[in-house]
């Protein structure tokens, strides 16, 4: 199987803003690979280094050491992002644009032809169930609709790799279910999905493989079914055990 994401010995250090605090190691010698066509869950408690790793992959943050590649191209090259789609956590898209204008804007960035753009916009708005609201300004959208328009923009270039940062964060159960259905459909289409989430039930349902990160270090990585067999527990219990969570005794 082809490796789409390759991370080797990745370290990211932040300089603390407080005087005398020195530096903080956000990601510590991370090795990770994601293969073509798999849905990969990237897990960890808040501050574990998940978003930092994603930020390195997207070229927002430079690695202190180590390497990260997308499709074999160094992530620092803008061309590495030609075949990816990215959905950030909680984004408020240009509120004065309508959904179709927003998608047209992103399509233009990719240099898509007008006819192809219109066809793709129709397809995506149908997929994310925003057809009836396509001509309404985004400022009138609910949170769930905004997240779905975000998903549509992530898919505008028909990417081979989708990077989703907590795609169901802040959504109601119906919104979460719709996003999960879309991920499932993308998986069936053979897309590679790399996503972080705190919804472990959801991860268990849709992911082929997972990695659990804690304090910047990779604690475990493997197939969901293998991990459940090895630990004789569900994903949530495995997660809590790995990060060393101790329940408070009554």
């Amino acid at each position: 199987m082809n490796q789409i994401v390759e991370i080797e010995q990745l370290c990211v250090e932040y300089r603390s803003r407080a005087i005398g605090q020195g530096t903080k190691l956000a990601v510590d010698r991370l090795d990770l690979s994601v293969h073509t066509g798999e849905v990969f869950g990237f897990l960890g408690p808040n501050g574990a280094g998940k978003t930092t790793t994603m930020n390195v992959l997207l070229g927002f943050v430079n690695a202190t050491s180590g390497s990260a590649k997308l499709f074999g191209v160094d992530v620092r090259e803008p061309i590495a992002r030609q075949r990816i789609g990215y959905l950030p956590e909680l984004t408020y898209y240009y509120k004065f644009l309508t959904a179709e204008e927003l998608l047209r804007f992103y399509a233009r960035i990719f240099g898509m032809k007008p006819a192809e753009t219109e066809r793709r916009i129709d397809e995506l708005l149908k997929l994310v169930e925003l057809e009836p609201a396509r001509k309404r300004p985004i400022k009138s959208y609910s949170k769930g609709m905004q997240q779905r328009v975000g998903l549509a923009q992530a898919l505008i270039n028909n990417p081979d790799l989708l990077i989703l940062d907590e795609p169901t964060s802040g959504l109601d159960p119906i919104g979460r279910m719709k996003v999960r259905e879309i991920i499932q459909r993308l998986k069936n289409e053979g897309k590679t999905v790399f996503f972080s989430s705190h919804e472990l039930g959801e991860v268990e349902t849709v992911c082929d493989r997972v990695a659990i990160l804690h304090q910047g270090k990779l604690k475990v990585a493997g197939r969901v079914s293998d991990l459940m067999e090895e630990y004789h527990a569900n994903l949530e219990q495995i997660f809590l055990r790995i990060i060393g969570y101790q329940p408070v005794q009554p």
């Binding site: 997207l58 070229g59 927002f60 943050v61 803008p78 061309i79 992002r81 030609q82 990816i84 789609g85 990215y86 959905l87 950030p88 909680l90 984004t91 408020y92 898209y93 240009y94 004065f96 644009l97 204008e101 804007f105 992103y106 233009r108 960035i109 990719f110 240099g111 975000g150 923009q153 992530a154 270039n157 990077i163």
Partner: protein, 259 residues
């Protein structure tokens, strides 16, 4: 170039879907119409005063629109987190800056055109003649002036934390240069060292925005400016705009995206 033009289009759409431009334009029209209806002391120079006031309103409105639009561009991208999906596309930070600049500059050009059309109508209806070339030169030079201002404000939006503080500082700097810039060398002569050197350095390093102000020529119907001077002033504006945009790119390229 696709990315730059796509970004510029969004900025232009933002301008015409917001109320700022319409409010300032209606205010300018109202004030000019009210003054045009008055005939104080049967003064035959009243048309000159009217043009002067109308041009002053055009300058203030265009400056406010440009500064307000440019100052919120990059901070709004960060605050709303749209900078993340944008930079996750094959777009560099330099292209983001260029797209934002181009959008603000073109949008301010469209706004200027509307204001000058109105000015032309007012002038034509009062004087029954219009020095078209003189008007076009004034419009072009003001647009060049706005290019420097927009680039300066974009640089400020990377340096200062809040768009409001950036807009205020930039407006004070621009008005300071417009009102005092031309006298700084005279001030320097009367200063003791080291103030003389400091004032002289400031005089030679600031963009002399007052050179782009052709209002007096329009008001007094003076002959048109030689085209080579217009070309030189345009090059001067392009150089300063380039310097400010380069500074913006230098500051922005390594800056953390989250605030």
């Amino acid at each position: 170039m696709n990315a730059i033009f796509a970004l510029a289009t969004v900025v232009i759409k933002e301008l015409y879907r917001r109320k700022d431009f319409y409010v300032l334009f209606i205010l300018t029209v109202l004030m000019t119409v009210v003054m045009a209806s008055a005939n104080i002391f049967n003064d035959d120079k009243i048309v000159g005063y009217l043009k002067e006031i109308c041009l002053l309103l055009v300058w203030i409105s265009a400056l406010v629109i440009s500064v307000a639009t440019a100052s919120r561009q990059i901070p709004a991208e960060r605050e709303n987190r749209t900078i993340f999906p944008l930079l996750a596309k094959p777009v560099s930070r330099g292209q983001v800056i260029m797209g934002k600049f181009l959008g603000c500059w073109l949008a301010s050009g469209v706004a200027l055109l509307v204001f000058y059309l109105f000015l032309g109508v007012v002038n034509g209806s009062r004087e029954h003649q219009l020095q078209v070339i003189g008007y076009l030169q004034a419009l072009w030079m003001q647009w060049m002036f706005l290019a420097i201002v927009i680039a300066m404000v974009l640089l400020g939006s990377i340096i200062f934390a809040a768009p409001s503080s950036n807009a205020t500082i930039c407006l004070v700097v621009v008005l300071g240069i417009l009102l005092l810039g031309r006298y700084l060398n005279l001030v320097a002569i009367h200063q003791a060292e080291p103030m003389r050197t400091i004032t002289s350095v400031i005089y030679f390093s600031i963009p002399h925005l007052e050179w782009f102000d052709l209002r007096e020529r329009v008001i007094n119907d003076n002959p048109v400016v030689a085209w080579n001077k217009i070309a030189l002033a345009s090059l001067y504006a392009a150089a300063y705009t380039g310097v400010f945009l380069f500074g913006t790119w230098i500051c922005f390229r390594r800056q953390s995206l989250s605030k």
